[in-house]
């Protein structure tokens, strides 16, 4: 009963806070100067001269994608950071068999068109490339090289016949390779707050450029790092942009974040690709309708709760398996440290336990996760799902902490228990497993519970290795609506309730185990 009241109180508190913040939300509407394209260029795929079949296939695919709106979807998903697409090369070395493989030359350093995430390739071009490979009945191989080499490689046509690297179409290049249809117009436009009248009376692109040049360092422009908008604001010789030295420029990892900051009044303007920002601005302007509405729509109407439930499952799975692995490892390490003194292997095993604890306790969880996922597992050829990987790493890490907990627990068991077991003829290990550890566990259940609780909260870092857990699921919701307050508060509530449940579970277990103490 008492617990119920606590839960209720906390929920009421949270929603009051939510309501208050929603009422006093100071999100401004933003305005996109879409009719004035500051700069414009077309991106297209390049194909080796003479490969008409491939060229036609690419054009056909682009037509299809444009017709059913999938192209816009793909582009949007990478601009607002909600894409879950990732591609991993099926073979390590460059394949020579062009009948089986579609080798695509690219320069994977150009988000959101092509970049790497871990050992996987992501980006608009990569996703289209995979569709193209499917269409041709081939397997995609992403051939990563420097940007300059892409055109040359495709021109020679030996290793690869198609380049997809956000390549701008120009006359020089047309002499070297053939270009498919342009699939993306990289038009940069200016976005400001609706209430900002600095640019209100501008009649042409030149007016806007002049007005920008007149501003000083206090005027902050946001862009998505690496995009044309970023080059345009900061200057880039290759593109022929001079940049604006008089302004302050901020680079963001996603264009949406820049627009969000603009709506929050933190920056003055955003220079960004026209297509995505129209959608982004639309969503942000909708938010004056109320944050709950947006969250409800995403969570219930668009079935965001399904992803959340999947994420919840992953989180619980990782924590539970991690705890079990950690408990086994921890117990074994604790026993290593408490071996009887006379045994010759004592120093080796306890030394091992000490080194293990030092390593896993001495480095951050995230670092261990990254090392295991990107370096150790691929090196050892271990191929398991990311969730299991995360569970394993959490288990290994938790083992280090649990070993100290268990050591304390084992030491708190009366020495006579071990002597009685040994005197009956049971070996050290049998006595440990049958007599000592059960009693030790009983002594450390509260502390182990603590470890479990911190474990379940620590799992929120697993999105580093592309696991969608509870936190990542809510992050995705937040990212697709550009509304962060409600999703994160609800996320916090989720964790809070889970931890409350675990706490009562631990109490239950503790009471069960204590039955041998009752008098």
């Amino acid at each position: 009963m008492k617990k119920l009241i606590v839960i209720l109180l906390v929920c009421i508190l949270c929603f009051t806070a939510l309501g208050l913040s929603a009422c006093s939300s100071t999100l401004q509407r933003v305005k996109v100067y879409s009719e004035y394209e500051l700069t414009s260029e077309g991106y297209a795929f390049c194909v080796t001269k003479g490969e008409t079949e491939l060229l036609n296939a690419a054009n056909e695919l682009l037509d299809e994608l444009q017709a059913d709106g999938r192209l816009d979807e793909i582009i949007k998903s990478f601009f607002d950071g909600t894409s879950t697409f990732a591609y991993e090369n099926p073979v390590a070395d460059l394949p020579t068999d062009k009948q089986t493989y579609l080798v695509v030359a690219t320069n994977a350093e150009f988000p959101p068109f092509e970049y790497t995430s871990g050992n996987k390739y992501v980006g608009i071009d990569i996703e289209i490339a995979e569709l193209l490979a499917d269409k041709l009945g081939k397997v995609l191989y992403v051939y990563d090289m420097s940007f300059d080499a892409v055109i040359q490689t495709v021109q020679s046509g030996i290793e690869s016949n198609i380049g997809m690297a956000g390549i701008t179409v120009n006359e020089d290049r047309k002499k070297q390779v053939d270009f498919a249809d342009e699939y993306y117009q990289s038009a940069q436009v200016l976005v400001t707050a609706q209430s900002d009248i600095t640019f209100a009376d501008c009649q042409s692109v030149q007016d806007i450029l002049d007005r920008l040049t007149q501003q000083d360092k206090n005027f902050v422009v946001g862009t998505q790092s690496g995009t044309t908008g970023y080059m345009f604001a900061n200057g880039n010789e290759g593109f022929g942009y001079e940049g604006f030295d008089n302004l302050t420029t901020n680079g963001y990892t996603a264009g949406a974040l820049a627009v969000k900051d603009l709506a929050n009044g933190k920056i003055n303007a955003v220079i960004i690709d026209k297509q995505p920002v129209l959608m982004i601005a639309d969503t942000i302007n909708k938010q004056s309708e109320g944050v709950f509405q947006i969250f409800y729509e995403q969570f219930v109407t668009l079935e965001g709760y399904k992803a959340v439930l999947d994420g919840l499952l992953s989180t619980v799975e990782i924590a539970v398996i991690g705890l079990l692995i950690g408990f086994v490892i921890g117990s074994v390490l604790a026993v290593f440290k408490l071996l009887p003194n006379q045994s010759w292997y004592k120093s080796i095993l306890s030394g091992f336990a000490n080194i293990y604890v030092a390593i896993f306790r001495g480095t951050p969880m995230v670092v261990q996760l990254l090392i295991m996922h990107f370096a150790l597992f691929p090196l050892l050829g271990i191929n398991i799902s990311s969730v299991m990987e995360a569970a394993l790493v959490f288990g290994l890490n938790s083992g280090a902490y649990t070993s100290e907990i268990m050591r304390g627990g084992i030491m708190s068991v009366d020495k006579g228990q071990m002597e009685a077991g040994r005197a009956l003829g049971l070996g050290f290990t049998k006595t440990m497993v049958k007599i000592i550890i059960p009693q030790a566990v009983k002594n450390v259940v509260p502390t182990l519970g603590n470890e479990f609780i911190s474990l379940i909260k620590e799992t929120s870092v697993v999105s580093f290795i592309a696991v969608v857990d509870l936190t990542k699921a809510f992050q995705n919701i937040a990212n697709s609506t550009y509304e962060y307050f409600v999703p994160y508060i609800v996320l916090a509530l989720f964790y809070f309730v889970i931890v409350l449940l675990i706490a009562s579970l631990i109490k239950l277990v503790e009471r069960r185990l204590r039955k041998s103490d009752r008098r």
Binding site: G416, Q417, A423, L424, G425, K434, I435, S516, D517, R519
Partner: protein
């Protein structure tokens, strides 16, 4: 049955046992008495290797349970490099037969603790042949030696029945049904059949100790070691425990008992050993020890406890 040979035990610099030798024959009831700190508990615990002796050997049923102590084996010493070197030096000058020289050298090596850690291959082989012939795994040996502790040491996380069944089951000596039947029989023998399913924390000290005794009996031991079994009990509970021990003795169980209960010792013991300062000061029948003590220390001890 139990043969303790020339046992030394040091805890750091403290010497607890100093050249103790005891032989317990089958059916004997040996009671060890002595002031506290005299080493009697340590001696008992060395008999089933709960304490590892520093030097000396313990034999159970003609099987060695401790490492081989080279000083106790003439055939080992004569194989050592130290012996061979000394033999070569003294052979020229020694006046007497070769066997006299050998005896003298062995005495000399034992007295001055001259053996080193590395003494050559022949020496290692000699040790190994003794070990191969008689060494037995301690866990095996302990199955035949029951032990009863001052603080009972019942397994707190197990019920009384489970306490009795655990060892025979874990070591696969009995099936579950056999073990349970045996455990229930033992419990009815001590009148505690109704306590089979309770946890030890609910029992009185006397009940715990009697259950600890039958827990040891569940393994069918050939001898029993008692380490001050009544010292932690309230006075009114001492009797029931001693009664059970006396029944055991009457059944012909071989027993080694460390105790302060002199009356019980007189009644039950076939031999009494008086220990002080880590050494056996006097031993004999109860009549000899209690009615006709020889050494002044025993006299003093008896005057204090009787």
């Amino acid at each position: 049955m139990i043969d303790v040979r020339n046992l030394y035990k040091n805890f750091g610099k403290l010497q607890v046992l100093n050249a103790v030798s005891v032989k317990v024959e089958k059916g004997e009831k040996v009671v060890i008495i002595g002031p506290s700190g005299s080493g009697k508990s340590t001696l008992l615990r060395c008999m089933n290797l709960l304490e590892q002796p520093t030097y000396g050997e313990v034999w159970i049923d003609d099987r060695l349970i401790t490492p081989v102590d080279p000083y106790l084996h003439r055939e080992v010493i004569v194989q050592s490099n130290t012996f061979k070197r000394l033999y070569a030096i003294h052979k020229q000058t020694f006046r007497g037969s070769e066997s006299e020289l050998e005896d003298w050298l062995i005495q000399y090596i034992k007295r001055d603790d001259l053996l080193k850690r590395i003494e050559g291959k022949a020496y290692n082989n000699a040790i190994k042949s003794i070990k191969d012939a008689s060494f037995v795994n301690i866990n095996k040996a302990r199955q035949h030696i029951g032990m009863v502790f001052q603080h009972f040491n019942l397994f707190n996380n197990k019920t009384v029945l489970e306490n009795l069944m655990l060892a025979p089951l874990t070591l696969k000596l009995l099936t579950k049904e056999q073990a349970e039947e045996k455990a229930r029989n033992l419990l009815s023998r001590i009148g505690l059949a109704d306590k089979a399913d309770v946890y030890p924390s609910t029992l009185s000290g006397g009940q715990k100790q009697r259950i600890a005794i039958v827990r040891a009996l569940a393994m069918n031991p050939q001898c029993m070691l008692f380490d001050e079994p009544t010292s932690a009990l309230d006075p009114e509970m001492v009797r029931e425990v001693l009664q059970l021990m006396k029944e055991l003795a009457d059944d012909g169980m071989t027993m080694v008992i460390v105790t302060h209960e002199m009356k019980f010792a007189k009644e039950v013991a076939t031999r009494v050993i008086f220990m002080d300062d880590g050494q056996i000061q006097e031993e004999g029948t109860p009549q000899q020890i209690f009615d006709n003590p020889q050494s002044p220390r025993l006299k003093e001890f008896l005057s204090q406890v009787l």
